[in-house]
């Protein structure tokens, strides 16, 4: 058993024993139950707020939907607890998907606004559908039986705690799997996530629906806990409280959600006692003063991050002296605490604790597996000389500018096809259209005899086109190994429920071995555990190539892989290209270094002004008068162009 599992089991055992201390105290038991219920809702909310990085203002509404679904299922249909809770989860899943389908096409403020509007709509519906929900008067219900057993306060608490433990395990399995990694990848570079063929949108919708269903489950439990529901209990204030929990506790952390739940349940009680409030305020002020003191040497004066928490906690201390009734200022106190935490500890309490623990105890890295056999990871192409890619009459326009005019291009298996031309000649536009980033104005791209749909990076990637980017698009916060693992689509096949149930480990091991084999191919075997952001520039370019290879491409497009490389790195690149060539993977290579083009390419197509001006073997191209003119302009007479030909490095 790992240390982590021991800690978690210990914490849950402790929580389970709590009724022994509080057993007779109904109030204490109520608070404990509420902590577990909120923890479930917050774990769900953290999926969008933490992992998808979007501000979700709809979780209170999902709690409301779940609460009413469970409540009505027991009161109107006479269902027992388990099916009623299942109904709540289903309602949450469906409503979550319904909201996520349009809303997740949006980002940032629009997403927040969409969820906020959804939340208001839900409260209006619950208030107005009086015949079903009893409207603003509220709905009273009786806690139903669970598998024929009548649950008292302690039994119900254990039920909630058990559910929380199950969900905790499931979410941890999910978030440490390919799913969690693809969310982080998405945050770092949405374009690259599309380019490796992950259906980002689909995953986001699924994750949002899952998070919403947890909110609905919490709502169902809430209904059976209080046995009375009112639509107004799930308004804006409740939503702010939920967000407060996630942010205070710490995003992207199960412990954070748990801690946040504890805080939002206990804070109102703590604030009702003046001495406790004053102690909290004083400790907060002291901590933020110490933090500000540590940053006194910062250039440009004390940063906002140091000053703001001091002001906020200082206001709390002052308030403690002057304010008559703290209860009246409850929201303001909440706001000040939140403000101090959001500014001073942007990662939340658990984020800070986690970082400190990681500094104190060195985390042991998972040992690397043996790399997989390259012939299994990237089989050598069998068919020789067949046409892999055929581009016919491809055009692309930006407003009035014709960036690409009727491009024809063929690439065969085993061929490295050079695409060259002066700056602005349409090379990048050509591969952006072929790889689906831009829609084509006219023409078709045919891969393996099938016409590509066009205009979608993801679909082109799924059809087998993998590419690198001239301006690097790495997942900077992931390690080199993880960058490659994200792209290993063919390894990850298990559906979401099985991953949550913990069956994903075998896939994970296989992916690590395959990713290592690909890293070794590009000479990065020794960098597997290094964060992509910390890699040297040249190495980052090679990592992009490894990631593109992980897609098992039918066609590989390299966009200026040698740009900005030092000469030893260029040698390494030529070596990598040679190894790719050995596996007979067809490549389109955009490059400015003529010596590389001459050495590596079997055929070359030259673009100028969006049109093909020449194509043929590198030797033919080098002496082509049009090409020389395009690169160097016309100088009077043959003498000049002869001199120019000699000056060319190729």
């Amino acid at each position: 058993m790992s240390k982590r599992l021991v800690t978690e089991a210990g914490a849950f055992a402790l929580m389970a024993m709590m009724p022994l201390f509080f057993g007779g105290n109904a109030y204490g038991m109520g608070l404990l139950t509420l902590v577990t219920i909120y923890a479930i809702a917050l774990i769900g909310l953290d999926v969008t707020v933490g992992y998808l990085g979007q501000v979700n203002l709809g979780q209170a509404a999902f709690m409301a939907l779940g609460a009413y679904a469970a409540g009505l299922a027991t009161m109107s249909l006479g269902w027992s607890m388990a099916p009623a809770l299942l109904a709540a989860v289903l309602v949450g899943l469906i409503a979550g998907a319904f909201l996520a389908l349009p809303a997740l096409r949006l980002e940032g403020p629009q997403f927040a606004l969409a969820t906020l509007s959804f939340a208001s709509l839900v409260v209006i519906l619950l208030n107005e559908l009086e015949s079903v929900t009893n409207g603003a008067q509220g709905l009273s219900l009786v806690r139903p039986l669970l598998f024929g057993v009548k649950l008292g306060p302690t039994g119900f608490y254990w039920t909630c705690l058990g559910l929380l433990a199950l969900l905790w395990l499931g979410m941890r399995n999910l978030l440490s799997s390919h799913w969690g990694r693809s969310f982080e990848a998405l945050r770092d570079s949405p374009i690259a996530t599309d380019a490796v063929g992950l259906s980002v949108y689909g995953r986001k919708v699924a994750a949002f629906a899952l998070g919403s269903s947890l909110g609905a489950l919490a709502g169902g439990l809430y209904a059976f806990d209080f046995q009375y529901l009112q639509p107004d209990g799930f308004r804006y204030d409740q939503m702010v409280i939920l967000l407060l929990g996630v942010v205070l506790g710490g995003r992207k952390s199960l412990w954070g959600a748990f801690l946040g739940a504890g805080l939002i349940v206990l804070l109102p009680n703590l604030l009702s006692s003046r001495p406790v409030f004053e102690t909290i305020a004083a400790v907060g002020l002291l901590v933020s003063l110490v933090a500000a003191w540590q940053r006194r040497g910062d250039p440009g004066g004390l940063p906002f991050q140091a000053v703001a928490p001091v002001v906020a906690t200082g206001l709390m201390v002052l308030g403690g002296f002057f304010v008559q009734s703290l209860e009246d200022w409850r929201k303001a106190v909440f706001a000040l605490i939140l403000f101090a935490v959001v500014v001073g500890l942007p990662e939340g309490v658990m984020g800070y604790v986690g970082r400190t623990l990681a500094r104190l105890f060195r985390v042991r890295r998972q040992p690397l597996p043996e790399p997989a056999d390259l012939n299994d990871v990237l089989p050598i192409e069998a068919d020789r000389g067949a046409v892999r890619l055929a581009v016919r009459g491809l055009s692309c326009r930006f407003g009035g500018l014709i960036a690409l005019a009727e491009l024809d291009l063929e690439v065969q298996t085993g061929e490295i096809h050079g695409l060259i031309g002066p700056n602005g000649s349409g090379k990048s536009t050509a591969i952006n259209v072929i790889s689906g980033l831009y829609p084509a104005a006219a023409g078709v791209v045919v891969l393996d005899g099938k016409v590509l749909p066009g205009g979608s990076l993801t679909r082109a990637a799924r059809a087998g086109i993998a590419r690198t980017f001239q301006n690097l698009q790495l997942f900077l916060e992931l390690t080199a190994l993880e960058n490659v693992m994200v792209a290993l689509r063919h390894v990850y096949r298990l559906p979401l429920p099985l991953i949550m149930a913990g069956f994903g480990r075998r896939e994970e091991a296989a992916a690590r071995a395959e990713a290592l084999a690909l890293l070794t191919l590009v000479g990065l075997g020794g960098y597997a555990g290094v964060k992509a952001a910390d890699l040297p520039y040249g190495t980052q370019r090679f990592l992009e190539i490894a990631r593109a290879l992980a897609c098992r491409p039918r066609l590989l497009i390299l966009d200026e892989p040698a740009a900005g490389l030092s000469s030893p790195d260029i040698k390494a690149l030529v070596g990598i290209m040679g190894r790719i060539h050995e596996r007979r993977i067809p490549v389109i290579l955009i490059e400015h270094h003529m010596d590389i083009v001459a050495r590596l390419c079997d055929r070359v197509t030259v673009l100028d002004g969006g049109k093909v001006i020449a194509s043929g073997t590198p030797e033919e191209i080098q002496n082509h008068p049009e090409v020389i003119r395009a690169y160097l302009g016309t100088i009077a007479g043959d003498r000049a162009s002869a001199a120019v030909t000699e000056a060319q490095p190729c």
Partner: protein
């Protein structure tokens, strides 16, 4: 008879629609410069209205109450930018959403304690006597003043943007922040200016709507939701689009509350919003941008 009621509903709905449009216009301003909006804008509307009410209670004439309200709105806008937005924008995240919500939460609590939780009437020299427009449709001068004030301020802001150097600087930051900074324009100041303007616009919305709704800590809670809807439905890039969508929404709402019952008043806005999100996520008047690599 039927058409007369619909016409009357449309006229009184349009008055509110102008206010939605004005608040949404304020969102559009800050979104242009900084891709952020103040989620506590409703609280800003409310606090500015309370400050104007206090100014009026102190015996200031209406002609001075309005500038006091506008200035306090601008000051509050600057405060929100400094406290909640600048730091969060520097962190390159959506932190400002949360931060502006927090500032709004504080404002509600402060307003409840300073001015009390009760709704209070807002004095105005403008008459509330109905004017007959003919055909049985009538309008009050207060409603007319709302429309007039909204159009006036939108025109003024457009002139500021197009004709003054400062306005052009703000526009330059909206168009391309990096390029503007290379030309020596401080993006931070431009964003601050846009927040001040947006705050003043919100304050004006508060002053104009207060005689109709009365002033209280929750006066803007529903107003702001609709302004959000208007901003998203019209698209956060389009200034003129918000006027069209805002007024239509006001009319639709008024009709919905008449035919479906007052509880359903807010539904058209929300349904419109969800439809717009599903069909045109960038807004009716918005444009999709090309992804660059």
């Amino acid at each position: 008879m039927q058409w007369m009621i619909i016409g009357q509903m449309a006229v009184s709905g349009a008055a509110m629609g102008f206010v939605y449009a004005l608040v949404a216009y304020g969102f559009q301003m800050t979104y242009a410069t900084s891709k952020s909006i103040n989620f506590g804008q409703g609280e800003l509307v409310m606090v500015s209205a309370f400050i104007s009410l206090s100014a009026s209670d102190m015996g200031l004439p209406y002609g001075l109450v309005v500038p006091v309200g506008l200035l306090s709105g601008a000051a509050l806008g600057l405060f929100v930018e400094r406290v909640a937005v600048r730091f969060a924008l520097a962190q390159k995240g959506e932190g400002w959403i949360l931060m502006t919500i927090i500032v709004g939460l504080f404002a509600v609590s402060a307003a409840e304690n300073i001015w009390g939780k009760d709704e209070r009437p807002f004095p105005t020299p403008i008459s509330r006597e109905s004017l007959d427009l003919g055909g049985g449709i009538s309008v009050t001068p207060v409603e007319l003043s709302v429309a007039f004030g909204v159009v006036l301020v939108m025109v003024l802001v457009e002139i500021f943007r197009r004709r003054t150097l400062l306005g052009k600087a703000v526009d330059a930051v909206s168009a391309d922040r990096d390029a503007a900074e290379l030309m020596g324009i401080s993006a931070t100041s431009a964003i601050a200016i846009s927040y001040a303007l947006s705050g003043a616009v919100a304050a004006l919305a508060g002053i104009l709507v207060a005689p109709i709704t009365s002033v209280g800590p929750t006066m803007a809670a529903t107003l702001i939701l609709k302004a959000f809807s208007v901003a998203v439905v019209a698209g956060l890039q389009s200034g003129s689009g918000v006027a069209v969508v805002g007024i239509s929404l006001g009319v639709l709402e008024s009709l919905a509350s008449f035919y479906l019952g007052s509880g359903w008043r807010e539904t058209p806005g929300l349904v419109l919003l969800i439809l717009a999100l599903a069909l045109r996520p960038n807004g009716i008047f918005g444009t999709a941008t090309i992804r660059k690599v």
